[in-house]
């Protein structure tokens, strides 16, 4: 931490938030709001004189509210920057100055009640997202009594209580009477691995954190009896099993089963825990002096803001989605933006540091080059056909199409470096004025004509996106999942590229069934381009129906890169549907659509 403060090439903007990001890989422009601290962080020596005179007392967030701080404070003694800060909401008032004692006391005159937020503008080539996580708040799990019983605490509160820099200065005791305790319990998976309440995923760190805490207690207070209530103990990392074994050898009791209920003895303030011990198959009651809830990790609440600022994707659990789970685990769907730490998923310190180094290395691949190439899959606009309607600019997930103005008849312009190549602009253009480099209309038409040139009635036309559904098709192959040989796949970068004209051409050429497939909504590699795919398919269903063509012949499926099973199942189901499409139906479709085109 100190190294960051000292490093000549690191500019630390603490108490600051990113407000705006524009640009693209190699050329991001970022606006950061540096919030007013009301203390000059360069001049402040953290002497602490100001604190002594501040009359405002508030709970200390760093100590989990277990002790207090003043309105002028330093978050913790080793904080970087090593400077005090005034919480202006808590301060007695600065307009007019109602107190001002701290300013009087500060010899160096660091305190400035007129300080304002500043907007700092930065230009950077790459961005690393290391926004971290939140710790699960166990308030909703009322059966554990976190809000009702003072001797039920969370793991983070436990960390503060046992820390020599904590509110008890390392003299561990229980909150209600400040006395040393004899029996302590830990409940695992609080807020984790729960389908109904909390989060469905494993938070990855809590088992080992409890093992660590049990050993800390054993080392300092060997007389305390420790019981851990668990579902499964997961000690998968290097040195973890060893630590777990040490804990068991040291006499820590591990009981498989999560308590159903916690009650408090109003006299002693002890906790009565009822649990079904599933290894011994019996109901047990444990009387404990203190109970620690081993709480899990959650995505940060402001993840959505970051997601929108940087055009990222998140998985269903809310953590940021990596570009590829194995081959590009720190890349994101936005080129030049990388992930590190718990922003990507719950992980321990070692993993966070490893991932951070990986992200830094990936970022350097870009930073060490003077120029970087952009894949040539950007749109080409035919300005003779364009009617300046501006739809392309509206549907572009990246804001890469600019200038277009229907009123003043200004044509659109493509910022090629900002374009990621999804092709949605092309598919949505109502006059067919936009095509895409390397995935041109003529090329896609040629593919359709080739696949439907002979015996079209035996083929199923599949439009698949490069990242997910095509990869799902590959996964079916890798897994040797067998399906009927009727599918013919056209790969585009995104399902957003699948224009109505391609689907209609497929039917005009005699296709019995057409499938449009892409990434699941949460997985779209082009932010939200596949929403337009869905809308387009819905429009086509209506249009087909109006033309007395069964809308069922146009199918839609979201298939992830991992869902080989789903790909194969879909192909089997579509083959059954294909068999039911009659030659008369196909002939009728060809005629109706040929008339319209």
């Amino acid at each position: 931490m100190m190294d960051v403060g000292r490093h000549p090439r690191i500019k630390l903007l603490a108490y600051s938030e990113v407000e705006e990001v524009s640009g693209y890989v190699g050329n991001f422009k970022v606006k950061v709001r540096k919030k007013a601290r009301y203390v000059d962080e360069e001049e402040c020596t953290a002497c602490g004189d100001c604190v002594e005179v501040c009359p405002v007392i508030r709970p200390d967030e760093y100590q989990m509210g277990l002790s207090s701080r003043r309105a002028i404070y330093i978050p913790f003694p080793q904080g970087v920057p090593s400077s005090y800060i005034i919480n202006i909401e808590e301060c007695l008032g600065v307009q007019p100055i109602a107190c001002g004692k701290c300013a009087e006391k500060c010899d160096k005159g660091c305190i400035d009640f007129d300080m304002k937020d500043q907007i700092v503008e930065l230009e950077v080539g790459t961005i690393i997202v290391a926004v971290g996580m939140e710790v699960y708040d166990p308030t909703p799990l009322d059966e554990y009594g976190y809000t009702r019983f003072e001797n039920v605490i969370t793991t983070l509160e436990f960390e503060r209580l046992i820390d020599s820099g904590g509110p008890l200065e390392g003299h561990f005791a229980r909150p209600t009477d400040g006395k040393m305790l004899k029996r302590i319990g830990f409940i695992q998976c609080v807020g984790s691995r729960a389908e109904r309440r909390g989060n469905p995923y494993c938070s990855n760190i809590c088992c080992m954190n409890t093992v660590k805490d049990s050993l800390l207690l054993r080392d300092h207070y060997p007389e305390i009896d420790i019981t851990v209530f668990y579902l499964d103990m997961r000690a998968f990392g290097k040195g973890f099993e060893d630590l777990y074994k040490r804990s068991k050898d040291a006499g820590v009791r591990y009981v498989r089963g999560l308590p159903g209920e916690v009650k408090e003895d109003p006299q002693t303030r002890n906790l009565l825990v009822t649990v079904e011990n599933t290894t011994a198959c019996r109901l047990e009651e444990h009387e404990l002096d203190m109970l620690v809830l081993s709480v899990g990790l959650e995505p940060r609440e402001d993840s959505k803001t970051i997601q929108q600022l940087l055009s990222l994707s998140r998985t269903t659990d809310g953590f940021f989605l990596e570009s590829h789970p194995k081959l590009k685990p720190v890349d994101t769907s936005t080129r030049g933006v990388f992930l590190a730490g718990c922003a990507e998923g719950p992980k321990d310190i070692k993993e966070s540091v490893t991932q951070a180094s990986a992200a830094a290395a990936r970022a350097q691949i870009i930073l060490n080059q003077d120029k970087i190439p952009i894949e040539a899959i950007t749109p080409i606009i035919d300005y003779d056909l364009c009617n300046f309607c501006g739809r392309c600019a509206r549907v572009c997930p990246y804001g890469a199409i600019v200038d277009v103005d229907p009123k003043r008849k200004v044509p659109p312009r493509v910022i090629e470096a900002a374009c990621a190549g999804c092709g949605t602009c092309s598919a949505e253009c109502p006059v067919g004025a936009i095509t895409q480099r390397h995935f041109g209309d003529e090329q896609i038409f040629a593919q359709l004509e080739a696949m439907l040139g002979e015996r079209p009635e035996e083929k199923i036309v599949v439009f698949a996106c490069h990242w997910c559904s095509y990869a799902g098709g590959d996964m079916a192959g890798v897994s040797r999942l067998q399906y009927p040989p009727s599918a013919r796949v056209i790969r585009t970068m995104c399902s957003g590229r699948t224009g109505e004209r391609f689907i209609l051409r497929a039917f005009t050429l005699g296709a019995p069934i057409v499938l449009v497939s892409g990434c699941h909504f949460a997985d779209c590699h082009y932010i939200n381009a596949n929403r337009w795919t869905q809308r387009r398919v819905e429009r086509l269903w209506d249009r087909l129906e109006r033309a007395s063509i069964r809308p069922e012949r146009l199918q839609l499926e979201w298939i992830s890169a991992a869902e080989g099973q789903k790909f194969a199942r879909t192909m089997r189901e579509l083959e059954e549907m294909r068999k039911k499409v009659t030659p008369e139906e196909i002939e009728y479709t060809k005629q109706v659509l040929a008339e319209k085109v």
Binding site: H520, F521, A522, R531, Q534, R535, E538, W541, D542, P551, E552, L554, Q555, L556, E557, W558, T570, E573, M577
Partner: protein
Amino acid sequence: MAEEAKFRCLRCGHEFIAPYDKDNPQERSCPKCKSNSVRRARER
């Protein structure tokens, strides 16, 4: 308030009611066959 609408699966024909917000497209799947070929049933 979330409105509800009737949907029909174009894979298996199953009909069902689900929340619907015109401005906020959702990924939909048929509760019976899991297909995403789910179409909003029109009142006729």
